[in-house]
Symmetry: C2
Subunit: 684 residues, 2 copies
């Protein structure tokens, strides 16, 4: 192990971070100075001595990843990015928490240069970091050669008490231990303070022992405020351990240097003016200057940045040598890094005729996966202990497992997530953020709700995570209302930049995958049935790719029924029954609202046209459907536990009853008179 060499600039750099953090929060008059001030020493040691990255090339593939899981401490991260020369100026720091700034209140991936994953919602960063570490492990196992240690970056995480209290991080930590992720190094800022005060009020567990139970290496540094050598040695030791993730418990003083240090008063409020001046004086900084950074600090960090640039250069040389010796692997790796899909992959998508056998859309999903997994090696994912129900493990997949388990290897692409939906969702974000991987994750639709915190961050961060969400309604039958999602579809449909697909048959399922795999900046949830669905007359992949289309057209209709997923064929059945009574019914399938809403208005109005009432039909809550329809039919209360046909009958979601409902609607609007205008005709 190399030895720590103290530098005369260490202290000045650390105190630069502390005073600047206080200024950043002070100017915004909002934010969290305490953790940045407390974690300044470990941040400086990590970035000056260990961290491999090129600030001028922030997407360099083999860079170390840094995740500030306690994202409220982002003044720290912004300051480091600024010192290192990422695209973040001192003026950006002055715009902390202001409109349109690059320095929002919590770090957002895809918004600020150098931010890997979005953090702030507690537990998310930690858990996404497990995804980053899985990705590194997998890509290394897939592309490294005995003579080429090409992909070998570490993932470093800073975390506070809050993240470690959250269940999502417990899930991810347990899996990380199982997976023996030696490239994952977590620094736990053990400052004994959370918002409610001393952690003694609620968080008295033995965190170290808990992580030992998960199979982690646990290290301790008792004086995180000034023992730089201790910090250095702990990180060095963590890097040496190749078969276990490491957590370093670092005792620090929150708001170190402030008069309020060590109290929760410094956690989330700016320092008072006199405190701020005293702080600067104490550290030998000019008390009257704000946003003052000594030249030594900039110089030091400039050297660190140069070291990073050299590292990338060397790596690029290594990569081209690799390319000479392993041209095929090189081509594949660079393709995957670039994010380009193999040309023609979509030709493997299955296409169906109406005469093909009815199948559950979870099964149709399995057929798609079986077809595309061999041509899209970047597809990597798994299920939260529902593999046999989600049908996500195709025959050619190998488990992603530590080789020592004998259950698979790190080249494997199938992840056994365990019953850890929220952790799985956050890990999915990390897998997507790493690059070169398109993650899919699976559970019942009902339990996507367990992961809501991670799902909204996929959408906000533009992480392409594909959820395979089976058993998507009362149609799951016997498991009953505890497992039947009534409210989930509208929840997910209301999330910006999230594509919720509820395909009605084989072609629509292929379309959903086609869209989801191509959408490199948008997560998708594929809502799939447990029960069999017939293939529709008139469905095609092309039509479904518009998000909505007319699946059954008639002229001068009396009624249009708009539906999704397992209820489209019921709408078609109702249309048939009504025709025999002389009532003409069109049927529209609307598998994805987000995509339909992106179509030209004209097209939308041709699908959901004026002239006749529109009825929506879905075996879910009707919430949200008034946007597309005049009348709504759905599940008003909870579902129930029974064979699914019985539940559909009880709730009237059958061709026969929907025909009755449809007739009632036609009569109502005839009697009412007046023009019937599409709900899409609007002022706004």
């Amino acid at each position: 192990m190399s030895k720590f060499s103290p530098e005369p600039t260490d202290e000045i750099c650390i105190n630069s971070i502390r005073t600047l953090a206080a200024d950043v929060v002070g100017k915004a008059n909002s934010g969290h100075p305490g953790a940045p001030m407390g974690m300044a020493p470990v941040a400086h040691v990590l970035f000056s001595r260990f961290f491999n990255a090129n600030p001028k090339s922030s997407k360099w593939y083999n860079r170390d990843r840094f995740v500030l899981s306690n994202g409220h401490a982002c003044a720290l991260q912004y300051i480091l990015l600024h010192f290192l020369g990422y695209k973040l100026t001192i003026d950006d720091l002055k715009q902390f928490r202001q409109l349109d700034s690059l320095t929002p209140g919590h770090p957002e991936a895809s918004h600020t240069d150098g931010i890997e994953v979005t953090t702030g919602p507690l537990g998310q960063g930690f858990s996404s970091a497990v995804g980053l570490a899985i990705a590194q492990t997998h890509i290394a196992a897939t592309f490294n050669k005995e003579d080429f240690d090409l992909i070998n970056n570490y993932t470093y995480v800073f975390t506070g008490d809050g993240c470690l209290m959250e269940g999502v991080s417990s899930e991810a930590a347990s899996l990380a231990g199982h997976l023996q992720l030696g490239n994952l190094i977590v620094v736990y800022d053990d400052n004994h303070i959370s918002i409610d005060g001393d952690t003694a009020v609620a968080f008295t567990e033995n965190v170290g022992l808990r992580f030992e139970a998960y199979g982690w290496q646990v290290l301790h540094v008792d004086n995180g405020d000034s023992d730089l050598e201790g910090i250095y040695n702990a990180i060095a030791e963590a890097r040496k351990e190749k078969n276990k993730p490491t957590i370093i418990r670092l005792r620090t003083t929150i708001g170190y240097g402030s008069k309020q240090q060590g109290t929760h008063g410094i956690h989330g409020s700016p320092l008072k003016a006199d405190d701020l001046q005293a702080l600067k004086t104490k550290f030998g900084f000019p008390a009257d200057k704000t946003f003052y950074v000594p030249k030594e600090t900039y110089d030091t960090y400039s050297l660190i940045a140069k070291r990073g640039a050299v590292l990338e250069e060397k790596w690029n040389t290594l990569l081209s040598q690799y390319g000479q010796k392993y041209p095929k692997e090189h081509a594949e790796l660079t393709r995957r890094i670039s994010g380009k899909l193999p040309s023609g992959w979509e030709k493997s998508l299955p296409v169906y005729k109406p005469s093909d056998a009815a199948q559950a859309s979870r099964k149709l999903s399995e057929i798609v996966l079986s077809a595309v997994v061999p041509v899209l090696p970047e597809l990597m994912g798994g299920s939260a202990d529902l593999t046999g129900s989600n049908l996500t493990r195709t025959k050619t997949m190998v488990d992603f497992q530590p080789p020592s388990t004998g259950l698979g290897d790190y080249k494997g692409t199938y992840i056994r997530f365990g019953v850890r939906e929220h952790g799985m969702g956050a890990i999915g974000n990390g897998l997507a953020a790493y690059g070169g991987i398109i993650p899919f994750v699976a559970t019942f639709l009902n339990f996507v709700s367990y992961a809501a915190g991670a799902v909204r961050l996929s959408a906000l961060s533009k992480h392409q995570v594909i959820w395979v969400a089976t058993h998507d309604s009362i149609g799951l039958g016997e498991d009953g209302p505890t497992h039947q999602p009534i409210e989930t579809a509208i929840h997910l449909r209301a999330i910006p930049n999230l594509a919720f697909w509820r395909p009605a048959d084989g072609n629509e399922t292929s379309a959903a995958y086609y869209w989801a795999i191509n959408a490199r900046q948008t997560p998708s949830v594929l809502s799939l049935s447990r029960q069999n669905l017939p293939n529709l007359e008139g469905s095609t992949i092309e039509k479904a790719l518009k998000g909505g289309y007319v699946v059954h057209e008639v002229e001068k209709e009396d009624l249009t029924i708009v539906s999704t997923g397992s209820e489209v064929s019921i709408a078609v059945e109702a249309a048939g029954k009504l025709l025999s009574e002389g009532i003409k019914v069109r049927v529209v399938s609307l598998p994805c609202w987000l995509v339909f809403d992106q179509q030209p208005k004209e097209y939308q109005l041709s699908v959901l046209r004026s002239g006749a009432p529109i009825l929506s039909l879905e075996a879910l809550s009707t919430a949200g459907w008034a946007k597309y329809s005049h009348e709504q039919y759905g599940v008003p209360q909870w579902g129930s536990s029974a064979p699914y046909q019985k539940i559909y009958e009880r709730l009237g979601i059958t061709g026969t009853n929907i025909a009755v409902v449809g007739k009632k609607i036609v009569d109502f609007y005839k009697k009412k008179g007046g023009e019937i205008v599409s709900p899409l005709v609007k002022a706004l």
Copy 2:
């Protein structure tokens, strides 16, 4: 410690459970026989030797609580309830997982006699049980006297691997350890099997060590299949430990007795016919009979039930002796058990005039709590480490803490949940289920999503849990989009039997609490602002209690704006601006959709009446609003990090811009011509 006395009927009872479980699942051709067969011995020992309950009086307050956290194993619980004489016949068992049966696929509280909390969604039962144990501890500390050990029940939990992998149970377990809940005893069915196969694929942590880290007592029984004495001794030892919850790691064989025992093939599928017959033969049961229960089994359980009836009788005597000595406490305890609120409590609710100062609704909530906590001692709750932001701890409250911590005592009603939203929600369900307590729980609205799994079970189980959900929109400002809930309101509004209140001012906040506290079978989420809100002209508690009302009336309006919460005053401002242009605008406040939808149709149509266009306004996703309005204005994408006024301006949610929008709408509908009909006028 008493000693285990084996009985000749033990084995026959255990095998009765096993064969009957196989029959129950077999007849339904759906369900999970494996865990019931594996856990039959511990179930029999617990219920025959320890469990205190009176099956004929299933709500007896001091009964032991039993929670089957691995709810998919409910055949076990239904069989026990049937043997013990709860309202569950052998015919009910034959109706397992059938429509309208008392034996749904997962146990539902408020549906089946003897079920305490709903389980099945993994981790929920375990975590709710922590709530049951907190409730017992608190009620005991409040009402027991040195000479009256009146409330002393235990909470017993069965759990499998799945529940222990879930983050929600990690959160609850950590808090249970901190709170030193000696009355909580968990039996962990360590059968090494989950749906994906051997737990070796994903769950290799040291569970015992993890629970030690949480501060639990950890006991082991190596042969859970037949070592009844070992099981007995472990439970007895668990009961002796008064300052720590206990987890008993019980090694069992899933599906014990089946040819598939010990494999995941027996987890969730019925036994094949030959396997079932062999099982019965093996246990000396008639192979050709189904649903056969030996007389000895019924006799044994009938004696257990009698023991329970005697226990309740004795307890009732104790209670009446208590009443003689402590009449005041007796009156209060029996009132709380009955669920009756103190008469006149609502008189303490604050009432506001328009001239009263503008305040944030989170502050208005604090004022309500400060007023009602002294008159409603059953209010017990707290925050997920956001006390100072949620403003939930009133001055008179004492922390609920183990006395040894010196931070409070068990009589205290304020719970420091730590950053554990999902665990908090599930614990809330347990607190409500225990009786005598009205739980409130608090976090930012955005993080209610972390607890979605628990919230939907509150609604399904009819548990009165009150969420104090502050920082409810982009109005929280600087924390930014990671903390700004866009999609949360419609998610919660789509959950049946959940009241989502978004009050606009002081009177509406009082109304929301009034309603939520009176709603003994409905959970509520109170969505509250960080920013100040003026008190409206024309708001009253009475009007707000209708869920929606006209806050600003005009005749022959050109436009109605319907809004909620922080945007109602902006709508009023827009109305004022438009009036100066000769455009007459009504404003409707719709704080609670659930309650408004329960009003007579006539009333609804008088509020959202035909004749002029209706515009909805909310600083959230517009999803769902087309039900009440012709046009919708809201937040189309994510929010941003900035002082909130800047965000409102940017997104056009200001009086000035809404006036422009309103004019555009009025013009559009004038130009369009034709009758304008309320969206509430419908065929369905």
